[in-house]
Amino acid sequence: MRRVFVLAAATATLPAMAFAASSSAVPVDGMPQLAFGHPTQGRLLVGQMVWQLIIFAALVFLMAKIALPRVGAVIEERHRRITADLEAAQAAKLEADIAMAAHRAASEQARAEARAAVATALHQAQAASDAKAAEVNARITAQIAEAEARIDAARASAMGAIRGVATDTAEALVSRLTGAADRAKVEAAVGRVLAASGRA
């Protein structure tokens, strides 16, 4: 807004200067740029050159000593900042890459460890169950063997009892039928029959 006012003020005052342009009392012949012989123009042309040298020297001084080094510093600062930022970004990326690689290695290792742990656990469980199964088998086998021994014993005792019972029964029968029985003969006959039927 301030700039607009400055511009407006300039456009308002400039005509005043311009209208003074052709106020020359003596008319100018030909190009005013070359009117060195004209009483006022000639003087102004030389003055214009002198003032130009002063003004241009001022411009060069202002630019060389003050303005341009500062603008250059601004641009240089931006350039430096961008370079630094790029370098920082590069470093951060490198760091991230390293972290990523470390992470990948760690997860790989963890996976391997987990796999190994699972395998060990599986193995142990297998072994434990095998051992248990063997134990159970052994116990069952032992029980079976024991039971068979018991059965054999029972059968043997039962067989032993059969002989006694058969002998007694046969003696009783014979003594009832005949009145008397020879214990030794009966025992021998029972033994023969038992042997014949394969139960002795």
């Binding site: 400039l14 740029q33 003032w51 241009f56």
Partner: protein, 251 residues
């Protein structure tokens, strides 16, 4: 002012007149010099604002100042090389002085100081003297070998040396006349066609319709003049850079 009687007065726009009253009259400070001061003030304002803002992300004005800086810095670097860095402020000042002279001349009522041969010649002489002084400073007496290219047959020296010297001296003339002629031609044309608009516009009923043609020409000319304003400032700056290259490297 432009139309005196029935003649077209396209040249009075270049007349000088003192400003600042009796003081300006006493020291021959004309409106031309006033516009030089305005040009310097604008250049100073632009570059100072650019430096003062100093923002990392530039605004419009700062971007303008920085692109002007970058444009001339790049030109000097391309033409002269790294040794040209210390001459950059000089080339920049020449460029801005010519550019603002040309552009200020496009404002209504403004005075185009680059339309004066005295001004352009003074600037060209400043450039020429600066370039010659730099060349002699850097190369001493060896500088004069510039006027006789290496490997040329010695018997051609009587022809080559005068030609080279004349071409070296004519740099001042070509540099100044090019700018002066361009600006004068443009402003005379603008004035002539503007006068046609006024003259034809006064021809009764058909006047406004006929006057539209020179008006259209003037609209095109204004655009063209803006192009010329930049182009001539560029040409002046790049020729200064090329001459600096010759001064620094001798061919």
């Amino acid at each position: 002012m432009a139309v005196e009687g029935k003649t077209i007065d396209a040249l009075s726009q270049f007349e000088l007149s003192p400003v600042l009253g009796i003081f300006g009259d006493a020291v021959s400070f004309s409106q031309s010099n006033l516009f030089m001061v305005i040009a310097v003030a604008l250049t100073w304002y632009l570059m100072k604002t650019t430096a003062d803002r100093g923002a990392l992300v530039p605004g419009r004005l700062q971007a303008l100042g920085e692109s002007a800086y970058g444009f001339i810095a790049g030109m000097v670097r391309d033409q002269v090389g790294d040794e040209g860095k210390k001459y950059f402020p000089f080339v920049f000042s020449v460029f801005m002085f010519v550019l603002f002279g040309n552009l200020l001349g496009m404002l209504p009522y403004a005075f185009t100081y680059t339309s004066h041969i005295v001004v352009t010649l003074t600037l060209a002489i400043v450039v020429w003297v600066a370039v010659t002084v730099i060349a002699i400073q850097r190369h001493g007496m060896h500088f004069f070998s510039y006027f006789f290219p290496e490997g040329a047959p010695v018997w051609l020296a009587p022809i080559i040396i005068p030609v080279e010297i004349i071409s070296y001296l004519s740099r001042m003339v070509s540099l100044s006349v090019r700018l002066f002629a361009n600006m004068v031609a443009g402003h005379v044309m603008l004035k002539v066609f503007a006068t046609f608009v006024v003259l034809l516009g006064g021809l009764g009923a058909v006047g406004p319709f006929v006057a539209a043609m020179p008006l259209a020409v003037n609209v095109a000319l204004v655009g063209f003049e803006f192009l010329v304003a930049f182009l001539q400032a560029y040409v002046f700056a790049i020729l200064t850079s090329i001459y600096l290259h010759d001064a620094v490297h001798l061919h």
